[in-house]
């Protein structure tokens, strides 16, 4: 489980149907916060949201976009597309990490980052997103109806290393699709919840790296509140304060600032000190 109030944690799930999402919703104690245009769920203690997109690529893109805006997702957010798939290469119930996404409609392929796969020993394979439920499984890999649409948008709003597509095998050649109901899907998902958490753990450790990279240096906010800095002055201030922290960890930069100093004078003061 994710610790409460973990600094920088931000996770979004995009899942087609309620049956596929039920165990995730339960496991992470999410509550419904919206019904239309898409049902949306949210954890009250930390920044985790889930959206039910419905079936198909268009729905997947629309729901991902909607959740991005609705939940005010930052750049440093984990995006996971999860659901059931069919395949001729795996057994029903297996959890699969997708390492290549192709589409029956488009030429470009997508490749989720291997950093999410590190040391988790979960099977990996390619995925083909199609527009109708697949029965023949002519190619190797797994078939779904959303991942391509999801990834095509997610890669624009988040680092590749924080985007994951996870699938559970629900049907193989010969499966009677009418027998796959909400309850049977929930059972498949519940059996893999520990492995799903393992994948999320990898993603969270990547998220932490980016969180630290994007974090403003100490005293940045305080100094920006004291004086009016232009955008480019803020960039310089951020750089100087980062260097200041490394060079003079015991010296408080706020003590260098005189009451009447302008933003440029403050920057010059920091620069002069760092030159020494």
């Amino acid at each position: 489980m994710i610790e409460k109030n973990l600094e920088g944690v931000s996770v979004r799930w995009v899942i087609a149907l309620k049956g596929e999402a039920e165990e995730i919703i339960k496991n992470y104690a999410m509550k419904r916060v919206a019904t239309t245009p898409f049902p949306v769920y949210k954890n009250k203690d930390f920044d985790m949201w889930l959206i039910l997109s419905g079936i198909g690529q268009l729905n997947a893109v629309a729901a991902t976009t909607y959740l991005y805006v609705k939940s005010d997702a930052s750049y440093n957010t984990i995006w996971i597309n999860f659901g059931i798939v069919g395949s001729r290469n795996f057994k029903v119930g297996e959890l699969i990490q997708i390492d290549k996404i192709t589409s029956s409609d488009f030429q470009d392929n997508y490749y989720p980052s291997p950093s999410a796969f590190k040391n988790n020993n979960i099977e990996r394979c390619n995925l083909i997103t199609v527009n109708k439920p697949e029965k023949l499984f002519e190619n190797d890999g797994v078939y779904d109806m959303e991942a391509y649409g999801f990834f095509s948008f997610a890669k624009k709003i988040a680092p590749h290393e924080l985007i994951s597509v996870l699938k559970i095998i629900s049907d193989i050649p010969g499966t009677d699709l009418s027998e796959i109901d909400k309850h049977s899907v929930e059972i498949l998902v519940s059996k893999q919840i520990q492995l799903i958490e393992k994948v999320l753990k990898n993603l969270l450790s990547s998220q932490k790296i980016i969180f630290l990279q994007l974090k403003d240096p100490k005293y940045f906010d305080e100094i920006c509140l004291q004086k009016k800095f232009t955008f480019s002055q803020k960039v310089t201030l951020r750089k100087y304060l980062t260097q200041w922290q490394a060079r003079f960890p015991q010296r408080n930069p706020l003590e260098e600032i005189g009451q009447r100093m302008t933003a440029s004078q403050i920057l010059k003061k920091f620069s002069d000190n760092l030159m020494r």
Partner: protein, 329 residues
């Protein structure tokens, strides 16, 4: 160890690609159309990729041989570099690769023959001029030798062009390939060096300086010519003592006559590279001394650069002929 290999469809059946793939029996191999589908895309993160780099095997299409930057060289009129690989096994904090690329995956171009024919063309075109070909700038060729066999292929190739210099820039202590070939008079094994204490902080995953010196001694005794590359010179509080000790340690072990050349270089980055580095290493004291100059280049203050260059040159002159000294950039 690499657990993911991406291979371009066009070269997946080549001998070199198969030879490399066979070295990673447990890796998942995924076919791609072109390496640009996964390498250096926007919204990729170098530092995260560095935690589990994938290997990408591709075909270089153009730009096999490039002019070295102005002012770069070890005495010859024409200087070129070529890169059969982007990114490195090591993880040095000041490395420009992490500023240049968003991707830390190892990208290897397997069509070595195309590089060789372009190098041949360049040599023939300028046959009246002295020239040097540099490798090891976008990667550490020697460190990746067990995987690529690059040096094993290029040492015999350059043995055919005795008037042309071939420099292999490295931090690796892998000497297997130099044991299997006779020393080549026109090949320089050039070691990047800095004081041991700094290397322990900055040259992550690279062999220690004492191990590099030991290996240089071994290669020199075998008859290989050695290059000493103090590039970049790193400023810190007691840099004079540290560099003096480093030079003494090197020349205590290696005879001056085995040294082909010595070069000194300053730490410089384009602004955008430096901003990324500062994000990656906010606590680095070494990066805190760098400043932007009026041309938008990040470097030490000119007075620091000059002082370091002059001091190191004068210290090195205690051990080596100044005619062997060159500046990098």
């Amino acid at each position: 160890m690499v657990d993911t290999i991406y291979v371009e469809d066009e070269i997946i059946d080549t001998k070199k690609a198969q030879e490399i793939i066979s070295k990673f029996r447990h890796a998942k191999v995924t076919s791609i159309k072109r390496f640009g589908e996964i390498f250096n895309l926007s919204n990729q993160n170098f530092r995260i990729q560095k935690t589990n780099p994938a290997l990408i095997l591709a075909k270089k299409q153009k730009g096999f041989v490039l002019d070295a930057p102005k002012g770069f060289g070890i005495g010859d009129q024409n200087n070129y570099y070529f890169s059969h690989m982007y990114n490195c096994l090591y993880d040095c904090s000041y490395c420009f690769l992490q500023g240049m690329y968003n991707s830390a995956n190892y990208l290897v171009f397997v069509n070595f023959h195309d590089y060789q024919s372009e190098i041949e063309k360049t040599i023939k075109k300028h046959k009246e001029k002295k020239m040097t070909f540099f490798t090891g700038y976008d990667c550490d060729s020697l460190a990746m030798e067990p995987i690529t066999n690059f040096i094993n292929d290029f040492v015999p190739f350059f043995s055919r062009y005795k008037k042309v210099l071939f420099e292999i820039r490295t931090k690796s202590i892998n000497n297997t390939v130099f044991r299997t070939h006779d020393p080549l008079a026109n090949c320089i094994v050039a070691y990047s060096l800095m004081p041991e204490a700094l290397a322990q902080i900055l040259d992550k995953k690279a062999p220690s300086i004492s191990a590099r010196i030991k290996n240089m001694k071994y290669l020199a005794n075998k008859g290989w010519r050695i290059g000493l590359r103090f590039d970049p010179l790193i400023y810190c509080s007691n840099w004079k003592a540290q560099y003096s000790e480093l030079f003494a340690n090197i020349f205590n072990e290696i005879k001056e006559e085995n040294i082909h050349s010595v070069s000194l270089g300053s730490l410089r980055f384009p602004k955008s590279f430096f901003n990324k580095l500062l994000q990656y290493y906010p606590n680095s004291e070494e990066l805190s001394f760098l400043r932007s100059n009026d041309k938008g280049i990040i470097s030490y203050d000119q007075s620091i650069e000059n002082e370091m260059n002059e001091y190191c040159r004068s210290e090195l002159m205690k051990y080596s002929d100044a005619r062997k000294f060159f500046s990098c950039g």
